[in-house]
Point group: C2
Chain length 424, copies 2
């Protein structure tokens, strides 16, 4: 029965039951973590060969490049080929970097501030104001990068097809608006894949700032956990066709394919952007870790090798997402006190509890030993105007712990909703 339609006495009884159940949860002394999109141990174990492969000295030189020595700013060519194949972009458009795409994104913004981007009239540090579009709910670390440079963060609501494009187009007409953060496939946290129409409108965006940048964080480009790999539009090509070839930087990494924080990362951009970035990067680095590039190339061989590997991740991930949804469907759906997305890839289930209840649910969970991502973290300035969104990250805990965590979470959702309705 929908909670809002319950009579007061029934609701009081519901509350009382929920409170008892919650006290019972607390008494278990749990210590569970559903806070970050961290692969679980079983997923890490999938890549142990990468850790222990044998590499002969003869194998360290690929395409004439010695992986063990300095040189080749853009990375081991074989690693660039692998990413080019995965993203469907050209080899020349790919820069293979260190172990984190987040760092490459940060560095892009940092260089916009210190030197400007290819079409900048001046470095962003010389501007009075820089605004950045933040589709929300979104990835907290994107917003943290923006904040760390003192940008003004503009919230763009997410729709089922991606960011609200009417708003994006409206804001892009402001010359102070310098870019937008996008996680286009299995978005963090909603798990939404941008529609073709959204992609088309983004690629052909009219932007007043000549150096507007579309930060295309394709973090979950091959991260289906249900069904086959879903091909995805090549945003570089789309932007080029639309007359915006230099507007986009695409990012990807193997952090959630091999080892988080120890995988390999890349960015892809137009050749004009690449020529410009190479000059700036040349001051920062001689070459990133080409041995890690080599290891990944030997481990995967090609894009198909990556897709095959992702099937193994899917086998581990699918039951976890199924469990999250089963609990929500069974425990919460009938009460009408929350709604959520049903992603087929990525790392999260985006949950919307009753308005004004997210912080309360988070606090209740914490008290019962279940750590969730902070309520509000998925919004610019950590401020969810509805105080409604919570990000469930089911990947890290093993299935039995996840089940316990979901029991606690459902219990807390109920309790918070009842508290709200009863004005407690």
């Amino acid at each position: 029965m929908v909670l809002k339609e319950m009579e007061r006495s029934k609701l009081e009884a519901f509350y009382s039951d929920a409170l008892k159940a919650y006290e019972n949860c607390k008494s278990q002394g749990l210590k569970l973590d559903m806070s970050r999109g961290k692969p679980g141990k079983a997923q890490l174990d999938l890549s142990m060969e990468l850790l222990n492969m044998h590499i002969d000295p003869e194998q360290t030189k690929v395409d004439g490049v010695e992986a063990r020595n300095y040189g080749e700013l853009m990375g081991l060519p074989a690693a660039r080929r692998l990413f080019a194949e995965l993203l469907g972009v050209k080899f020349e458009q790919v820069f293979a970097g260190g172990s984190a795409s987040l760092t490459l994104m940060y560095d892009l913004i940092a260089k916009a501030y210190t030197n400007g981007l290819l079409h900048s009239e001046k470095p962003w540090s010389k501007l009075d104001k820089v605004k950045f579009l933040c589709p929300a709910p979104g990835y907290d670390r994107h917003f943290t990068i923006s904040s760390s440079f003192g940008m003004e963060l503009i919230m763009i609501p997410m729709t089922e097809e991606g960011p609200d494009m009417d708003m994006v187009e409206k804001y892009a007409a402001d010359p102070d608006v310098k870019g937008i953060w996008c996680v286009p496939k299995y978005s963090n946290p909603d798990g939404i894949t941008y529609s073709d129409e959204t992609i088309k409108r983004l690629a052909s965006l009219k932007h007043a700032a000549p150096d507007f940048v579309l930060v295309w964080d394709n973090a979950y480009c091959v991260h289906e956990f249900e069904g086959e790999f879903v091909p995805f539009k090549n945003i570089l090509e789309e932007c080029e066709k639309a007359g915006n070839p230099d507007m986009v930087f695409e990012f990807a990494s193997t952090s959630k394919i091999t080892f988080p924080g120890a995988g390999i990362a890349c960015f892809a951009c137009s050749e004009a952007n690449m020529a410009y970035m190479k000059k700036l990067l040349n001051a920062q680095v001689i070459s990133f870790d080409k041995i890690n590039h080599l290891r990944h190339v030997l481990f995967f061989k090609n894009a198909q090798g990556v897709l095959d590997h992702m099937k193994k991740h899917a086998e581990i991930m699918k039951p976890k997402f199924d469990m999250v949804l089963e609990y929500l469907d069974k425990e919460i759906a009938p009460l009408g006190i929350a709604h959520w997305h049903r992603p087929k890839g990525g790392y999260f289930v985006s949950l919307f509890v009753e308005k004004g209840c997210a912080k309360r649910v988070h606090a209740l969970c914490k008290e019962a030993g279940v750590v969730m991502t902070d309520a509000g973290a998925t919004y610019p300035y950590k401020n969810d105007p509805d105080d409604s969104n919570l990000r469930i990250a089911p990947s890290f805990p093993p299935l039995d712990e996840l089940e316990k965590a979901m029991q606690v979470l459902c219990c807390c959702i109920k309790l918070a909703a009842a508290e709200k309705l009863l004005g407690k």
Copy 2:
């Protein structure tokens, strides 16, 4: 016989012989590289165990930190301990980063520009002018970092004891002067180790800019190729004793210990600086490659392991430096047309040819198939006021190639000197 004292006819004959010898060099169609401080293949082979070690899943968790997953911004504690022991600093003062100390230095300067350092009144990007002291001859990539941010580079001559401290002290009184680049042990390229007196004066430097930064690039901290390891003053402690605890950032890496560009790098600084930097770094990175940290820790075990390993490098490096010096001593010294340093560690021999001849020697070498670091590269703005310094990097070519390269170099030094004296 000293060339300058030769009669004209003898000099003409000398020139003619030198030219013939040079033409002979050219006819050999050589292709040799003495341009960069790259370890040679035999040195890379010393660390193959690092590439091929077996790591059990049980070994990936050290001090409770899973090296295969996200987390631990400051790096694997065991890697931080290793660097702390090597540099003689405290564990709390060490941040273990990615694969290149150069990138850490760049990032420090970048953050000074975008956010300011701990004691900055404002970010450097908001200042009209930033000046930086550049002891020269010095490391070209330091100067490139400064240039990429648009700093004004101020040349400080090197003495046998390090940078000319009278000049450093004079310039530090200018509030626009924000720091100094230092390679304190086996400096690049002179191979000079700063004297205790120089270190003391640097540590107690009176600086008008509150955020003056002593960039202490201890790139060759354990890189003796002759004799035993020479202990070196802990600059963090020296600065602290002198009342300048937050002035210094020290950098080191294993690039020239294990694999260049694929080693592990660190910076060390006061705990106040670290607290400040951690906040900024938290926006840039979740954690650097802790698996590479782990591999290095397992490979070396402790600082003594590193020193033992460096002995093997020394066995390969010493004969190369001996050969460089033998050729210079035998072929050039009697002619009085150049002078050079005799380092006991590091990667270079710093050669000073006749004034106005360095570019010519470099061009002659290039034409004969021997690539040297660009003449002038060791000076700010790539401008050696005397056009005299050349950096010999003997590490990369095998001994037989190095010998040929030295024959060519000596030949070119002679030819250029004779040309100059004859006004050709």
